[in-house]
Amino acid sequence: MADTLTPPTGELENFDPQRVVEEPLWRVRLRLGWRSFRRNWALFNDNKMGVVGLAIIALFGLMALAHPILMATIWSNHLEGGKNVYDIRAGADSIIVTKTIVEEVTDPLTEISQIEAMFLGTGVNIPEIGDTIESPLANPAPPVFSGVKHPHILGTDPFGGDVFSQLLFGARAAFLLGAIAAISSVALATLVGTISAYFGGVIDTLLMRLADLVILIPLLPLLIVVSGFWNVELTMLGILIGILSGLGGTAIILKSQALSVKVKPFIDAARIAGGGHWRIITRHIIPNVLPLSFLYMMFAVTGAIFTEAALSFLGLLNIQQSWGIMINIAHTQGYTLEGFDVWWLMFPAGLAITLFSAGFFLVGRAMDEVVNPRLRKR
């Protein structure tokens, strides 16, 4: 703020500069931002595909939010063996069978000794021989849909865990992973793409050969190797997927967009105004690339969820619980080929993965039409 403006030369009739500065600048910007959001929303809303996708994402959002709330309220006092039945990892419910109290146990599935029955009962009376008593079957129990002590909307898994609770928690994990992967991937791709396009020369060559290298290496086998060496957790997986997908194809696509922006005369005008490289990249090139970046953010979520599911299915990730792990457990316990008999083991998780990815893909496609005017119908 070292300099002040020189007083204007030449005369000015009926012009009052005070008139134009009544509204603070940030409010003007907010108003303009809201206006352009409304306009883009109208375009987005035209395409029902995108609205369906958004509804799907909203549904999963509600699921993710519901899990901690349910754990704190409805599911809070369903304890068995000192652990909450609905806990996504430790929780286990068991099947209740009716057993006859006998003196000498010959069939542990139908008979129970007097001493054991005493511990199961609530009163002080010693149970009579010949009476019946409800007793839990030992774990691991076969997955069941009903007939257990606590209510389970989608039945239990092979260890007696609640499938519905795991499904809700899986949505949380998916959102977390998707957000980390998408943001890191697109941030990296935008930066690499614009820097490569703007500076060109050696920097461009280095970054683009790196991109070629990343495209060359298949993502999944590389992650399998990496998870063999390190203990890969959800955040680390997100960042890994972000880096690997951000340096590859997305960076090249965003670079091509940045190249077409870079040669526009307004970039020359910014240079003449005295703007440095960083200002030109952040204020002039990136805002013009950003719509495309957001688009690839949507597709990055889809890719990240699929990768996670595949790695979890192979049992290579150190993740508390996710949709992929649900399928993994059903698979490793030998229920893969039972098909529709134990449908609640595979289908909720599989469908969740499919729908979640589809939701983001649909939103991405609808955004494509907003970003890319050539695809618009009107």
Partner: protein, 338 residues
């Protein structure tokens, strides 16, 4: 156009002085191979612009006039030569400018671009665009900048300014956009503005109003223009002097009316004879120039115009490109056969 500016140019120190300016573009150069073929985009040109004077740079496409403009604004680096800018009595060499002088230079020299649809960032408001140089150079406080931008918008004819301040370029017409571009160039009070065909992309109906505006503002802000155009009529309207370029060389430079009344170089004559005259009875003087535009790739050391010249002689074929002959009255011509 009111008075012969050449007198002023002779008396005062020039605002801009271009000496032996060259720009060579290497052809097929890579890390393993030194370039040995060059396109001579601008080849050894000299001219001066006095304070407040407008110089027109006229020539066909590809003759290097835009490259000259870009070198004067430091968008392109010169291969060799000097561009001296007078900043309050101190000379800055734009071609070899120091980093510390860069900011001062950016306050003195601005540019108006040809295409108003491409020269405004579609994601920035009119205010952001016009205030950019103030923001970058940290001039004034936010409110002062806003007042200054509003004032400039008012003066380029975008009234009332408050209804234009926060519009996006796509909400403006071509003429309005070019007015914004003019406001952007003048907001920082420059002394020298390079105008690269600012009216060629506009409708004919608004062309004249933009030119009048530029003339008016040149007086009010006391700026000099380097007005690049391919249209002699536009150059005549806007400029005090005209320089005619052909294939990287300035072939003739003279005060506007002198050049139009008394063209001496065969290329200038050909250009003038191609200007349509709105009189069906008018019999134009035919100037025969042969062929199409020559290539500026490794030109041989003879007159650049020789292949198309109707009066080339043996001298032209054996000597290098001719230097300027001073015909008096500020009229310089580069030709052996006058």
């Amino acid at each position: 156009m009111t008075e012969p500016m050449t007198d002023i140019a002779a008396k005062t120190t020039p605002l801009v002085k271009v000496e032996n300016l060259r720009k060579l573009y290497p052809v097929s150069k890579n890390i393993f191979r030194e370039a040995h073929d060059f396109v001579h985009a601008v080849d050894d040109i000299n001219f001066e612009i006095a304070p407040g004077e407008s110089l027109g740079l006229v020539g066909e496409s590809g003759c290097g006039k835009s490259t000259t403009g870009r070198m004067l604004t430091k968008l392109t680096d010169a291969t060799s030569g000097q561009i001296l800018l007078d900043d309050k009595g101190e000379l800055i060499d734009i071609a070899h400018i120091q980093r510390s002088d860069m900011r001062r230079f950016r306050r003195r020299v601005q540019m108006i671009f040809q295409d108003p649809f491409e020269s405004l960032n579609p994601r920035r408001t009119v205010y952001d665009t016009v205030a950019e140089s103030l923001t970058v150079q940290r001039i004034g406080r936010v409110q002062e900048r806003e007042e200054r931008v509003a004032e400039l918008l008012h003066r380029v004819g975008l009234t009332p300014p408050e209804s234009f301040l926060f519009r996006y370029p796509h909400e403006l017409s071509g003429g309005q956009r070019q007015r914004v571009a003019i406001a952007r160039a003048l907001v920082i009070d420059p002394t020298f503005v390079v105008a690269d065909e600012p009216t060629s992309m506009l409708d004919v109906s608004i062309r004249i109003s933009i030119m009048d505006l530029m003339l008016k503002l040149a007086d009010e802000f006391n700026v000099s223009y380097l007005y690049i155009t391919h249209d002699l009529a536009v150059a005549r309207y806007m400029c005090d002097r005209i320089a005619v370029m052909y294939l990287g060389k300035i072939v003739e430079i003279a005060p506007t009316e002198e050049l139009l009344a008394n063209p001496r170089h065969p290329y200038t004559r050909a250009l003038l004879s191609a200007v349509p005259v709105p009189d069906p009875a008018y019999k134009r003087e035919r100037v025969d120039i042969k062929g199409g535009i020559s290539k500026a790739l490794n030109p041989p050391p003879v007159c650049r115009f020789i292949e198309r010249c109707p009066r080339a002689t043996d001298q032209c074929r054996t000597s290098d490109h001719p230097g300027f002959d001073d015909l008096g009255n500020g009229h310089l011509v580069a030709c052996y056969n006058l």
